[in-house]
Assembly symmetry: D2
Homo-oligomer: 288 residues x 4
C-alpha cells in the first residue's frame, strides 16, 4: 500500500465529498479513511466552513503526483478549497528545542526509536549544554545556542539557519525555557508545537504549578499548542489532566506534571505528523 | 434542515464513497458528517469489510423516501451492501425494563425530559412494583409482569405483546435483574441493551463488585452491551471505569458503580438512537 | 457501632496524635480511621499547620458527649486547636437552592432516596416555579422566592428565615442562577456549596461553555466550591473533567457538562456531610 | 529532618494508635503523616485486621535505631503486630529485569536520573543483549543471562547470585518476557513487581492486546502486581486504563498500552519504595 493524506478546508457546498471521492476513484485511488466536519450554519448568509481529512491508497492510481496535484488544484479553484497533500512515504523532518530538563526529550527520542513517530528527529537545539549526552546517545546532532536578552536576535538567526539546513517541517519545544520572538513565532506558524505545563487557559505564564497549588485545584493538566506571538494563547492540539490532593506539594505537582507533559506533547506531535490536525482561526480540528 | 442517517457495511472496493456521495449530491442531498472505516486487508484474498456512517441534509433533495430507498437498493446490490436508512424526524420507540433499583430508570427519564435522548420512552416494564411511582411521575405507562422460574415463558409472552403494542425499536434493560431467554434475546438481537456492572470481560456473572473486592482491583467499571443468548458476552457498546481503594467496602463499590452504570447505559442508548453503532460479529464500531 | 468524627487544625507540635489518641483510648474509644497532614515547615520560624480527621467508635466510651467535649476543649487549649466534633447518628439538615434546570436537583434527591447522602434534604428553595413537581414527587417542601434586582434584599431575608426554620447546616446551590449577596455569602461561609460549570480557574463567570468553545479546549470540567463573596473564587472541594472535540457544539458541551455537574456536586456534598473537608485559607483539605 | 516509616498490621484493638503515638512522642519523634485502616468487623468473633502507615521525624528522637526497634518489638508482642521500620536515608537497591523492549527500562532510568525514584537501580539483568546500550548510557552494569527451557534452572541460579551480590531489595520485571519459577517467585515474595499489559483480571496470559481486540473492549489497561507462583494472579498494586476504538488495530493497542505500562509500573515501584504498600492475603493496601 502507498497511503497519502489530503487535508481540506472550504465553504460548505453540496457535492464536495462526491467531487473529491469521484476524482480519486476514477483514477484508481481507494479511500481508506475519511473524516469530515461542517460547522453549523450561522445567522449571516455565509456558507459555514467545511473540513475534511482523506487517507487513500495510491498504489493502483493511474495519476502520478504532479497529475494528482493538478487535478486537485482545479477542484480547489471550483470549491474555494485550501488543501495540502501528504505523501505517506515521506517522513517529515523534526527539530527539537530543549533546555535542561530531559524528560520530554528522552520521551520523543525513545518513541522515535520504537517506531512510534511518523517523522524523523534531525537534530536537537538547546540553550544549555546539559542534554548533549542525551542527543549523543541517540546519535542526533546537538547544537548549543545560548540565549540571553542581548544575544536573542543573534541566537534566533542561528536557529533559523539550522532549521533551514535540516529542512525542518516541525519544531518541537520540549520544555524549551525561552520565548520565541514574535517574528520567529509567525514564521513557524502552524509548525511549531509547545508544551505548557498547565491546563490552559488556567494558569497562563510562569510557574503554573505554584499557581495551581495556591488556588487549591484538585486536578492539574498540561497543554500542547501551536506557538503564536501571544504567549500560551495559540491553538490547542491536545490536553490531559491528573488528580492531585493537599498532600502534593509543589515538587509532587511538578513530578506528576512531567508525566502529563510527556504524554500530551508526544500525542500532539504524533497527531501533527499524521496530518490529523487542521487549524481554524485560533482553534484546531483533530481528526482521530 | 432534515437530517437522515445512512449506515452501511460491505466488502471494501474502490469507488464506494464516490458512488454514495454522487448518489446523494446528484439529487441535492448535502453530506453533513461522514465517517468510515475499513478493516486492514488479511492474508486470505477476501475483500476486507468496509463500514460507513453518513449524515445528510434531505431538505433540498429531489428524491422522496421511496425514490431514495430504491436508488440505495440498486447501489447496495452492486456493492453487496447491507444498509439502513434512518429518518432524523422519527423518534424511535423505547421500552425500559427495570426491577427494584431506581437510579438507571430515573437517569433515562430525566435525560428524556431534558431533551438528551433522541427517542421516546413509551413504557416501563418491571418484575416488581417498586418503581411504579417513578414511571407515574414521568407520565409513563407502567406494566408489572412478575417473573418466576415457572412463569418465565408466560411472562415473556406478555413482554413480547407489549413490545409489539408499543412498536418498540429499542429495549433497555435498566438493571433488570432477570435473564432473557435465548429466544427473546435472539429476537431482540441488535436492539436490546443491557448494563453490566463490571468492566467486561472481567467479572462475568453475578456479584461483580464482590468479585472485584476479592481480587483487590484498583479500578472498577461498567459495560453496556447488546444482549445475546450468551450471558454478558454480547457486543460491547460503551465502558467506563473509576478508581477504588482498600477503603471502599462492597457497599462503596456498589455506590461508585451506580454512577458508572448511569453514565455508561445512557451513553450507549444515545449512541444507538443516534445510529452511531454498527455491529460486526461480536464487536461494535461506534462512530462518535 | 456509634461513629463520631473529629476534625482538627492546629500548629504542628510533637505529641498531638499521642495526646488525642490517648484521650480517646483511655475512655474506651476505638479509632476506626485516622488521616492527618502537616504542611511542610517554612523559612520563618512559625510552626506549620497540622490537620487531622479522626473517626472513632463511641459505643464503649465511658465519657458522655459533654464529658468528651470538655476533655477536647481542655486539650484544644493546650495545643491551640480549632476543632469540631460530629456525632455519626446526626443527619445534617440540607436545603437545596434551584432555578429551572432539574438535573442536579433530581440527582441529589435520587441519591438521598437511595441512601447515598449522609444528610437530610429538608426543603427546596427556588426563584422559579418550574421544579415544584420535582420537590413534590420526593415529598419535599418547595418554596418559591422570586428574585429581581429590586427584591433581592427582601428575597434573601425570606431565604434566611427558611434556613433558620429548617436549622439548615448545609446549603447546596444546585444550578441556582442567582448570585448571593456578600452578606449572605459571609454568613454561610463554609456551609454553602456551589457548582460552577467549568474547570476553575479557567472560564470564571458567565457562559463558561461558550468561553470553552471559543478557546478550543479539548477538555471541559466542573467545579464544586464553597461560596464566598468573591464570585467563583471560593475554596474548591471537588473537580472533574471530560474530553470534547470539534464535533461538540455548545449544546453538546452543555449536555456533557451536566453529567460532570451532577457527579461533582454530589461528590462535594457527600464529602462535606461525611466531615471530610477542612478549609484552610482559600483551599480545602479533603480526607478521602 | 530525618524521616522514617513504620508499616504495621495487627488485630484491631482499642489503644493501638495511642500506644504507638505515645511511644514516638515520649522519645521526641514527631508524626508527619499517619494513615490507618481497619477492616469492618465480620460475623465470626475474630478481631478484624488493622493496618497503619506512620511517617515520623526522628531527628530529635532520644532513642537510637536499636532502642526504637526494641521498644517496637515489645509493643508488637503486646498487640500481635507484624511491623517493618524503614529508615528514610536508606535508598533500597533495585535490580531491573528486561528483555528486548526498551520503553519501561528507559522510563525507570530517566525517572531515577531525575530524582523521582526513592531507590537506586544497581543493575540490569536481561535475557537478550538488545538493551545493553541503554544500561551503558545510564552507567548501570548490564548482565546478559540467556534463558531457554533447558537452561532456566541454571539461569535462575545466576540471577539469584547477582541479586545477592547487589543486596537487591526490589526486583522489577520491566517487560521481562520470561516466567519466574515458582521457587524464585516464592523467594522474592513481596519484593518483585511485574507489569502485565492488560487490566487484570481481564485477559490473563499471553497476547492480551490480541484478546482485547477480539473481544471488542472500549478500554484497555495495564496492571502492576507482586509476582507469585500463580501467573498474573499476584496482589495488584496499581492499574490504569485508556480508551480505544475500532480504529485502533493491534499495533495501536500495543502503542497505547506502552504508555500505560510505563506509568503503571513506575507508579507501583515508587509506591513500594516509599513503603506505601501493605500486602494482605492476595490484595494490597496502598497508603497514598
Amino acid at each position: 500500500m502507498s497511503t497519502s493524506t489530503l487535508l481540506i478546508a472550504c465553504p460548505d457546498r453540496t457535492g464536495i465529498v462526491a467531487a473529491l471521492s469521484h476524482l480519486l476513484a476514477e483514477h484508481g485511488g481507494n479511500i481508506l479513511d475519511a473524516d469530515q466536519h461542517a460547522e453549523p450554519p450561522t445567522a449571516d448568509n455565509e456558507l459555514p466552513p467545511f473540513f475534511m481529512r482523506l487517507a487513500f491508497d495510491r498504489s493502483h492510481m493511474t495519476l502520478d503526483d504532479a497529475g494528482l496535484r493538478a487535478a486537485l488544484a482545479s477542484l480547489a479553484q471550483r470549491y474555494e478549497m485550501t488543501w495540502t497533500l501528504h505523501d505517506g512515504t515521506h517522513r517529515p523532518a523534526v527539530v527539537v528545542f530543549a533546555s535542561k530538563t530531559p524528560h520530554c526529550l528522552y520521551d520523543l527520542l525513545v518513541r522515535e526509536a520504537m517506531g512510534e513517530l511518523p517523522g524523523e528527529i534531525k537534530a536537537v537545539i538547546a540553550n544549555h549544554d546539559d542534554l548533549r549526552h542525551v542527543a549523543d546517545h541517540f546519535d542526533k546532532p546537538f547544537h548549543l545556542i545560548p540565549v540571553t536578552r542581548d544575544t536573542k536576535a543573534d541566537a534566533e538567526a542561528q536557529q533559523r539557519a539550522l532549521l533551514e539546513q535540516y529542512d525542518a517541517e516541525l519544531v518541537v519545544l520540549a520544555r524549551y525555557m525561552q520565548i520565541l520572538s514574535p517574528e520567529l513565532s509567525a514564521d513557524l506558524a502552524g509548525r511549531c508545537i509547545n508544551i505548557h505545563h498547565s491546563f490552559l487557559p488556567a494558569f497562563v505564564g510562569a510557574k503554573p504549578y505554584h499557581q495551581a497549588k495556591a488556588r487549591g485545584v484538585k486536578i492539574i493538566g498540561a497543554t500542547a499548542h501551536y506557538v503564536t506571538a501571544d504567549l500560551d494563547q495559540g491553538p490547542i492540539i491536545e490536553q490531559d489532566v491528573t488528580r492531585v490532593t493537599h498532600r502534593d506539594d509543589v515538587d509532587a505537582l511538578v513530578r506528576k506534571g512531567r508525566d502529563l507533559e510527556r504524554q500530551v506533547l508526544a500525542s500532539a506531535v504524533r497527531l501533527h505528523l499524521q496530518h490529523r490536525v487542521l487549524i481554524h482561526g485560533n482553534r484546531t480540528l483533530v481528526f482521530r
